[in-house]
């Protein structure tokens, strides 16, 4: 998908300058500006994007529903009686009350608590108490059009068992939006029926884009997350990929595949990087077990589908992370864990055990939220200063590396186009 697909009406420029056009300098105010946050809600989350909202298996039965968000707009995604998907803004069409107050459930109709206006699972208005009045008293006007007063509907579609919603009438079809480069990687993980194993949530006092940078930043993996090197897990010498999508560059995939007998720990020791310590080992290494499930023995698969999804395979831990902006300086992550329907009991146990690796208490991920908070705190009054994203700049096409900031630069150029900055 090309930049033209993201075209929207022109907007007056915000007084925010990206010093370079290649995405390598990012003014810190984009992480704290309320004006930026407001524009993101319109141009990104309500703009020409598809936003991950649920796994298909979370709402598998007719009538199943889930309350969630597109950006910071509360939406409900439902399975309708004929098995199709629907999504609507969780705002009553009468006077704006939050309609669905449950996080999940099953219902073929949704009645508003305030005056009992009733809607079907597609969001159509089906009933108004006292619509015809009572005892000669007038009700709603006789020409009141029920069809014109349904809930605000979103487009909704699923790809590979992942459900996305969009406010846009002009966004490309979902498979095209995901794009040729990214689809095979989703197919790789979602290649057979899955089972939902529950979710965990993490709330971070930082801007959501700092997390997006983080999942496009393989450079930090072995430096921030010392678990890797303390216990000898991931090495710079692993076979690596850092690929953006070919269009706007807002999606990306990072993989690491283990190469046996690599000697790259020497590179760390030579550079005196704090992370090497030969002295520690795990008593129970089963947490790092790896059952081969795919053609390539990839231990890390971190794939971002802009703006709300990070699809993850770390060893045998499978997660669809939903990234939700809450305020200029707050985001929430919802980790949707899953396994395959044909998991053996041992493999299922391993997936549960490997939840120790990821999420808010994850051995190799707990620092990510903290790192983004440190950026938020450090840069708060430095809005006109810029971050420096030069790693790998001289070889922009090199993709077989983890020592690069190329995906982050691509993210920022795509972001600027979408935001008209």
């Amino acid at each position: 998908m090309g930049h033209h697909d993201l075209h929207q009406a022109e907007l007056p420029p915000l007084a925010i300058q990206f010093p370079r056009s290649d995405g390598s300098r990012v003014p810190y105010e984009v992480f704290s500006s309320p004006a930026i946050y407001e524009r993101e809600q319109e141009r990104i989350y309500r703009g020409p994007t598809w936003n991950f909202v649920a796994l298909d298996v979370e709402i598998s039965q007719p009538g199943d529903f889930k309350s969630t968000y597109v950006g910071d707009t509360p939406v409900v995604v439902t399975r309708t009686p004929d098995g199709s998907l629907a999504a609507w803004v969780n705002r009553c069409a009468h006077r704006g009350a939050k309609l669905c107050t449950l996080p999940r459930g099953n219902a073929t109709s949704h009645a508003c608590l305030y005056h009992q206006w009733n809607f079907d699972s597609r969001g159509n208005l089906t009933g108004i108490p006292f619509r015809r009045g009572q005892k000669q008293m007038a009700g709603m006007p006789p020409d009141f059009d029920m069809k014109a007063h349904g809930l605000q509907k979103l487009r909704v579609d699923s790809y590979g068992g992942l459900i996305f919603a969009s406010f846009s009438d002009t966004v490309a079809a979902l498979p095209d939006y995901i794009g040729n480069e990214m689809r095979p990687w989703i197919d790789r993980i979602m290649h057979k029926p899955i089972v939902y194993l529950g979710c965990t949530r993490q709330f971070v006092n930082a801007n959501w884009k700092l997390y997006f940078e983080n999942v496009k930043d393989p450079y930090h993996a072995s430096l921030l997350h010392l678990f890797h090197t303390t216990f000898n897990i991931l090495r710079v010498g692993m076979k690596a990929r850092s690929l953006p999508d070919a269009g706007h560059g807002l999606h990306s995939i990072i993989t690491a595949t283990r190469i046996e007998d690599d000697n790259s720990s020497a590179a760390y020791t030579a550079q005196d990087i704090r992370s090497m310590n030969e002295g520690f080992h795990l008593e129970d290494e089963s947490v790092l077990g790896y059952v081969h499930e795919y053609e390539e023995a990839t231990t890390n698969h971190i794939q971002s589908i802009f703006p709300q999804l990070v699809l993850q395979q770390i060893h045998n831990s499978l997660v669809a992370r939903q990234l939700l902006p809450k305020a200029p300086d707050q985001f929430e992550l919802v980790f949707h864990f899953f396994g395959y329907a044909d998991d053996t009991p041992e493999l299922r146990e391993l997936r549960i055990k490997q939840a120790n690796l990821v999420g808010p208490a994850g051995y190799i991920s707990m620092e990510d939220g903290y790192a983004t908070e440190l950026v938020q705190r450090g840069s708060l009054r430095e809005g006109k200063s810029s971050s420096v994203l030069d790693m790998g700049l001289s070889q922009p096409d090199q993709q077989d590396t983890l020592i690069t900031e190329s995906l982050i630069r691509r993210f920022w150029t795509g972001y600027q186009a979408l935001m008209a900055l």
Binding site: I352, A361, M366, Y370
Partner: protein
């Protein structure tokens, strides 16, 4: 069980729980795994998953070695802001079950204080425990922390 036996049991298990929160709140993390049996289970799961019968949580250990690994990682590998927990535990219920095993449940609240001195209610939840009497005294065979505070603020470095 005589009333005196019941009082004694309550006192012993209350003491175990007090010891449990004391080691976590006073930086004696290496003593934490020792309060479990060698095959002990420890997990922290959100209430929404526990209620729905879904298994996933944020920490899961199915033996004491994994608990020692967790503490070793907290000490040596993971990076986080220095912090202190204060556990408030109430509502202890003790239910003797089969073969010397006793079930316990209690409410907990953890207040977390960072190095700038900001204290937050970090997590509220309940413990669901199984304990047995060993040669070293009462030990947890299983401890589940089921938390109501569904959004974990920033990170969890120390068990609750």
């Amino acid at each position: 069980m005589t009333p005196l036996d019941q009082m004694l049991l309550w006192f012993e298990l209350y003491s175990l729980q007090e010891r449990y929160i004391s080691v976590l709140d006073n930086d004696q993390l290496e003593a934490w795994p020792e309060l479990f049996t060698a095959d002990g289970h420890y997990e922290i799961v959100p209430k929404e998953n526990a209620d729905a019968g879904l298994p996933m949580g944020i920490i899961y250990c199915n033996n004491q070695g994994m608990m020692r690994d967790r503490i070793l990682s907290t000490r040596e590998a993971n990076l986080y802001e220095p912090q202190t927990y204060r556990h408030l535990v109430s509502g202890l219920i003790i239910t003797p079950a089969d073969q010397g095993m006793v079930k316990m449940s209690a409410n907990y609240v953890v207040i977390r204080t960072n190095q700038e001195g900001d204290s937050i209610i970090y997590q509220a939840g309940r413990y669901e425990d199984q304990v047995i009497n060993t040669a070293e005294g009462w030990r947890y065979r299983s401890k589940r922390a089921i938390y109501d505070t569904l959004r974990v603020p920033t990170l969890m470095a120390i068990p609750v």
